[in-house]
Symmetry: C2
Amino acid sequence: MSLIVQKYGGTSMGSPERIREVAKRVARFHGEGHQLVVVVSAMSGETNRLLGLAKALNAEPDPRELDVIASTGEQVSIGLLAIALQSLGLKAKSYTGAQVRILTDDAYSKARILAIDDANIRKDLAEGCIVVVAGFQGVDEQGNITTLGRGGSDTTGVALAAALKADECQIYTDVDGVYTTDPRVEPDARRLKTVTFEEMLEMASLGSKVLQIRSVEFAGKYKVKLRVLSSFTPVDSTDEGTLITFEEDENMEQAIISGIAFNRDEAKITITGVPDKPGIAFSILGPVADANIDVDVIIQNASVEGLTDFSFTVHRNEFKRTMEVLETKVKPVIGAKAIVGDDKIAKVSLVGIGMRTHAGIASKMFGALAQERINIQMISTSEIKTSVVIDEKYMELAVRVLHRAFELDKEPVQETLKP
Amino acid sequence: MSLIVQKYGGTSMGSPERIREVAKRVARFHGEGHQLVVVVSAMSGETNRLLGLAKALNAEPDPRELDVIASTGEQVSIGLLAIALQSLGLKAKSYTGAQVRILTDDAYSKARILAIDDANIRKDLAEGCIVVVAGFQGVDEQGNITTLGRGGSDTTGVALAAALKADECQIYTDVDGVYTTDPRVEPDARRLKTVTFEEMLEMASLGSKVLQIRSVEFAGKYKVKLRVLSSFTPVDSTDEGTLITFEEDENMEQAIISGIAFNRDEAKITITGVPDKPGIAFSILGPVADANIDVDVIIQNASVEGLTDFSFTVHRNEFKRTMEVLETKVKPVIGAKAIVGDDKIAKVSLVGIGMRTHAGIASKMFGALAQERINIQMISTSEIKTSVVIDEKYMELAVRVLHRAFELDKEPVQETLKP
C-alpha cells in the first residue's frame, strides 16, 4: 500500500462531467489499495472570472482581498470532488488550505509555504478516507487567507507529498508527460520516460510549461518522486507519463541530451566600445536591476585595445524600458560607443544531465546549426544546458535540426554519443 | 458616534455596479462619524449556481461538502465590497465566518450560532477600519465550515449586532420596509414606521417575507434595534424604512392592527365522527408527527352525542402524504367516520399587538367578511393574531376587505377602534 498525492488542474476539473472522471480515476487507485490525497485547482476559467469581478471594482485591487476572492475557486472544487467521490460510495473529506493548516508567509498572491500540519489528514487516511485539499492556497500566522500565485496548486501537491512523505506525487494535466521538445515544432518529439529535476528546471524556465518551476524546486529539495500524467487518458490507463527523478542513477534512459527548450520572449541588447575596466558590468547592470528588470543571458567579449562589447538579454516586454535606462543612466556615465537592440531573436537550448560528463556537445550543436547556415549571435552555457541566441525566424528550423542531430526521436538504449 | 451593523442581500450585491453603490452608502454612514460592520450575502444567483454544480454530481450531496461550496458565495462578496470601499479611499477589511470566529453547532446547512469572538472586529473598528463580514456562515468546534441556511445572512447581521452591542442593525433589502399587507394584493397597503417583534414574527411566519424569522427571534432575544431599509433608494436618502421595536412603548403608532398576513400554502383535513374521548387528539396527530409533518391550525369542535369533528391544516406539499398516514395508520385505529381533505384553501390573519388590550377585533373581522359573503371554514386565535381559513378564491378579496375595515391605509394618530 502506497500513499499517493495526486494533483488535478483546472482543465481536468472543468465541468461536473470532468470531475466525475477525476473521481473515477482516484477511485481506481484507492481500489488498488493505495491511500490518496488529492489536490485540485479551480475549475478552468473560474480564477479569471473572479479576478475580473475584482478588477471591475479596482484596477489594482488590494492583494489581501484578492486572495480572499481567488481562493474560493479551489474551495468550490474540493467540495465538488468530495461529493463526486462519495457518489462512488467512497469516504471523502475536503480541506481548505486554512483547514489543513498550510501555513504560509503573508506575501499575498505569491505566498510561500512555511509548514504543513499533517495531523488531520493522517487521521482521515488511517480511517480509509480520501482527502481532498484545495491547491494554491494557505493561511498566514494571523489567519489571513493567502494564495501561492498562479500554478500554485502544483506546489501544494508537492509540498503535501513532502510533508506526508508520500511515495509519489502525480501531477495530472492536459499533456501526457515531458517531451524532448514541443511536438508542434518537431512532430518527431518523443515523450521522456524519465527526466531529472535539474533538466526539468532548465526545461521549465526555458518555456516547456508542463510544471511550475517552484513545484519542481520544492520536489527536488524534499526528494519527492514526481510524475506528470494526462487526465485525458482512459480511467484504467496504465500509461506512466514522465517520472521526474532526483537521483541520476534512476535515469535509466542514460541520454546525454534530454530535450530542446526554446523561447522567443527575449530581446538582445549590445553596448559597444565599452572601456574594459573593473566594475564595468556593475555600472551597466546596476541601473537595470534598480529598474526591476530581470536579465537572462550575459556575455562580455574579450577586450580589444582596452574596449569591449557587452551584451545581454531581457524579457521582450522590458526591451523599450531597458533601452531607456541604458540611454539615460548608463551611456552618459560609462562613455560607451553605441547601444544596439534587437527584439527579433530566439533562444534555443540543449538540456541534458549527460553534458556534465560528455565533451563535444557544444561543438556538435554549433556544427549542426552551421550546416543549415543559422548564425549564432550569443552563446551561453551551464553544467547541463547550452543555449544559443539566433534570429527569431530560424527558431523552428534550429529546433528540428538539433532534434535530429542528437537523435532525440529515438529511445536511447545506451550511451549514443559518437563524437 | 454610533456602531451600526448593516446587512446587504444578494440583489443589493448583484453586480460590480451594485456593489459600488453599497460601498457609497456605507461610506456615507462612515463619513457621518459612525463605526460600521457590514454583513453581505452572495451575489444574487450565485448560491443557486453553486448548489446546481453540486447537484449535478449528486442529487443529495453531503451537507458538509455543500456548506464548503455554498459558503464561497459570501466569501467572494466580502472581498469585492472591501475592494470597493478601498477604492473610495477608506480602510476596509474582510472576514469569513471562520476568521471572525462565528462559532456554530455542526448542523450543516442549518447551523445555529453559539458564540461570536468580537476581538478582531473591535480592534479594526478602533483603528477606523470598516469591517466586512460574510453572512450565512460560521465554523464549528472542529473547524468545519457551516452555513446557517437560506436567509442566514440576516441572522449573521443581528447576531453580530448583539455581540458588538451595536446601536442599530440595518437590513438593506429590495423592499423599503414592512407594509400593512402585500401591496400587490391591496394597492392601499401602507408602510409601517414601526412594528413590534411579536407582530413581525407573526407576519414573517405567515408569509410577509421581508426578514428571516430566525433573525427576528434573535433580535428579540438580544434586544437588537432592527431596521428594514431599501438599498435601491438614492445613496443620500434619509428614508428610515421600518423600525422593528422590542419595547411596546416605542410603538408610537399605537395601532391595534399592524397588518394582514396571508398564505395559500396550506391544506385542510377534517376527520368526522371521531369518538370524543381522552387521548384522541394524540391518536390522530401522533402518527402525523412521526411522519415528520408539521401541523399548523388545529380545531376540535364541541362533541355531539359523543362524536366530534377534528380538523387541522398542513403544508400543501404534505397534503397527500398526510392523507395516506391518516387512512392507513389513524382511521383503522380510532374508528372515524370519514376523512375529508381540501387543498384549495387560504389563511388570512390579522396581526396586532393592540389585540391584547382591545376587545371586539375578532367580531369586527368576522362581520367584515360576512358582509362580502366570505365563508369562514376555520378560526384560530392567539394573543396578537386572529386567523381564518377560507376558500382560496376569496383570499385577495378578504385581504382588501379587512384592510379597509381596519383602516390600515391611514396613519394611525391615536387609538382608532370604534366598536
